[in-house]
Symmetry: C2
Subunit: 257 residues, 2 copies
């Protein structure tokens, strides 16, 4: 599997952000069962499953083992995987992160943080290129305070657009047909930012979190992947397979119509 | 234990970045044994042990279990722990990362990435405040390309100094005596940046990676923690307890004289 195949699937991404307090007295076993059932039921309607690493790390070493099981299960179902870790570090450490996710699960994608610079991102791009994977670099994040650094004006232009232009240039080396392996994360809560990034980076797959619970609006266009976490994984505030299926249908309808 | 006690210890930080290929046919068992021996031998000469999470994640789920064992061992020895994960995410996800490290190991510190904004950093600061921990926010990193975003001029001043000023203000709420729980990471490879950050952030503990292998120079001053990874953990390019002890003595001598 090549991660770029995700762009030919329905544009919805299931965000898996498990909270143990919602899963009864044996939370890990219940998270495993619920997530497997959900992945199985939703897979044909999804571009990818996005695993939020923080929630697995918060479960301790058993959480990491569970993450690997669920990522393997997604891949066996033919469903592309996005590891949402927002990792970023220098040189050989970035290579270690690339090994941990992109190389351990070929054909998967990882979200990364650009603060350390392009040289620190390169090991991720190169690993994605070797493994048929993808990388989503944070550009403009969905939170209310994301402007703190991202919107700073540099020569009259917000920082995240400088970044988008640099990544489009760099991403040209990692392009396969219409899409580059170098994508970006732009919050669906900032539709204007999505449009401005797309204008400057026509070949970057864009991962748009914040649909649903965070109030992000669906937008139209090629190469856009809409991630919903709480709205899909915990519709109505708790694990609910039937409601999740309905929520997926409703979101997809809004996205593709 | 309160993490700020690390600032009253010798200013050297052992960076634990295990590479399995240097540890023979049973790498995890050997990494465990070597690191425990090293921690035991070096503890009195160290401010803290810094675990580079990427290298443990690259070992798969067993690597995470090993990380927890070694972090627990450090704490039992009374040696403060820094989780070097450079984490950063929004709201409830940042809280999950804080649970995974600061709350799971009270009195420890975590390195974090500021790209998502101050609102995304707050859960880390609050968790550190609750648990007697510390947070080191990336300001100016040690890699050659760190200027890509960090040195961008915003109103005539590099971005990392804007950040340092904002963090000093924010950190005032988390100050205990002379030092705040809100520290920063500044590469020892950029001594001028260390001086400029210190000038603007007199209460922030500064974690300075890049001493030794990356060529960073020792600097003098209060509240500075010098992290050496390869130079201490793999002196001469391989695990070597005796050489590590000698390297620690030599580095400390250069730092405190």
């Amino acid at each position: 599997m090549d991660f770029l195949e995700a762009l030919s699937r329905p544009p919805l991404v299931l965000g898996v952000d498990p909270r143990p307090t919602l899963h009864g007295p044996e939370p890990l076993a219940h998270i495993r069962r619920y997530t497997l059932e959900l992945l199985e039921a939703l897979a044909p309607r999804l571009a990818a499953a996005k695993f939020q690493l923080a929630f697995f790390e918060a479960l301790g070493p058993e959480g990491t083992a569970l993450l690997w099981e669920l990522a393997s299960a997604s891949r066996v179902m033919g469903l592309p995987v996005i590891f949402d870790g927002k990792r970023g570090d220098i040189g050989s450490t970035a290579e270690a992160y690339a090994r941990a996710y992109l190389e351990a699960f070929p054909g998967s994608a990882l979200t990364v943080n650009p603060y350390l610079g392009l040289d620190a991102l390169k090991p991720f791009f190169q690993a994605a290129s070797r493994t048929g994977g993808g990388v989503f670099v944070l550009a403009k994040t969905s939170n209310p305070g994301s402007g703190f650094l991202q919107d700073l004006l540099v020569e009259g232009k917000p920082l995240y657009l400088h970044l988008a232009e640099a990544l489009e240039r760099e991403g040209e080396r990692y392009r396969e047909g219409p899409w580059s392996r170098v994508g970006m994360v732009v919050g669906a809560t900032y539709p204007e930012a999505v449009a401005r990034v797309r204008e400057r980076a026509p070949h970057a797959p864009l991962l748009l979190p914040g649909v649903g619970a965070q109030g992000g609006r669906p937008l139209k266009g090629e190469g856009l992947l809409f991630a919903a976490s709480r709205a899909l994984y915990y519709p109505g505030g708790r694990p609910d397979l039937k409601a999740a299926l309905e929520a997926a249908e409703a979101l997809l309808k809004a996205l593709v119509e």
